[in-house]
Amino acid sequence: MSAAVRENPADKYLRKERMPSIWCPGCGIGTTVNCFTRALDASGYDLEKVAVVSGIGCTGRVAGYLKLDSFHTTHGRAIPFATGLKLARPDLKVVVYSGDGDLSAIGGNHLIHAARRNADLLVVCVNNLTYGMTGGQVTPTTPQPAIASTTPYGAFEQSFNLPHLVASCGGVYVARWTAYHVRQIAKSMGEALQKKGFRFIEIIAPCPTLYLRRNKLGEGLDEMKFYQEKSVVMNGADTREVSLDFRDEIPVGKFVDIERPTLEEAMESQLSKALGAKYVPYSLPVKA
């Protein structure tokens, strides 16, 4: 007895004609996207009102695979593009989906300022500890002393603890998971989609082709098992305590979940306070 074949629940959210993706076997990016589709599915949102913005990188290709209004921008600039988009279109849920290098190296300034001003964006950062797209160079998140193509003798800089950085600048929702934590990712994304303000989810994910191979750490699956073994759930932890060391424990969990006025709210309330009746609030563009 053969069952009626149902559609893959992810398919609804994907530009299927563009599959298979460019991602390598065992790359963790796709897993996070899969979780994202489930979170969207569960959210019940009008998908027409969700837009995705990516920078450049392997993760930056996410925008191009999601069947949402999607923008593949320039390297490091997804956040300011998204900030502009959101200010012009407050009716949209705007999600930034990009890589560690894109968001925290070249894009670091925008990350801290958007967090500071509490821009109403959900930022998903796939942190594979390297620049995947360009061939495995060191990034601000590469732990000491991992090998990368531009640190062939081992990385020597202290790496960023991204949740702490974002929390320090004022992000209202900050979580970290690994690609192993698929249900937690989906749940976290769902939760964060509901929330307003600057939300940041870091997902540690395997880049087998470059990071793992160069550091002789096996395949994507080995890394997933490593995550399973080494992750420690520390919900609510002080973000100072959640930095990552090479092959050490991985603190995961939801670290921050607070409320404060978003950029738009703060802007509107200040303007209407100062201008009173003279304040003409922004209205949505209409197709004339």
Binding site: I22, W23, C24, C58, M133, G135, T209
Partner: protein, 184 residues
């Protein structure tokens, strides 16, 4: 002798470019010929088809492109499908036996197959399949000298892996010699 054009195609990760570099280096540095290698990535170097093109000549090479290779190495079916139409009717095709099923070739093309992946796996490291191929290429085509090819392998792989790679070369070379002998 005019230029010999070679094209090596396969998947990202198979060491296609390195294979081409060894052949080119053997010719340019150890056989005192001239050679020029150009490479073509897929749009993004992640698992998509890629190729190396090598021109070998006794004269300096200006125009570096390969349009109708005399010699072709195909290490994946994709590469075979994509590149084989470019091969000269009288050209020679070397294929990875288990990964490529050649079809639709003119009968004038000489085809030589080697189970390079299997051999590499026997050596304990699937990654050396490209060096097996280089050995096989050396034996079958005679374009570069055996000695030059050996030197080029040694000069091109990480020092710690020279032994393994030389074994891979020998296995491919031997396989090729045997095949030629059988055909002869």
């Amino acid at each position: 002798m005019g230029p010999t054009e070679i094209k090596i195609g396969g998947l990202g990760g198979q060491g296609v470019i390195l294979g081409g570099i060894i052949i080119g280096k053997a010719a340019a540095l150890f056989d005192q010929k001239h050679s020029c290698l150009t490479q073509a990535f897929g749009p993004e170097a992640r698992g998509s088809a890629c190729s190396a093109q090598v021109v070998v000549d006794s004269n300096p090479i200006l125009y570096p492109y390969v349009h109708n290779p005399h010699l072709m190495v195909a290490m994946s079916q994709d590469a075979f499908v994509k590149f084989s139409p470019e091969l000269r009717p009288d050209g020679t095709l070397l294929i990875e036996e288990d990964l490529v099923k050649p079809t639709g070739l003119p009968s004038t093309v000489k085809v030589y197959a080697v189970p390079a992946t299997r051999i590499a796996e026997e050596l304990g490291k699937k990654m050396v399949l490209n060096i097996v191929m280089v050995g096989f290429f050396t034996a079958v085509t005679g374009l570069v000298s055996e000695q030059a090819a050996r030197e080029a392998v040694k000069d091109s792989v990480p020092p710690a892996t020279i032994d393994l790679n030389m074994k891979a070369f020998e296995r491919g070379y031997a396989y090729g010699k045997q095949l030629m002998a059988a055909k002869a």
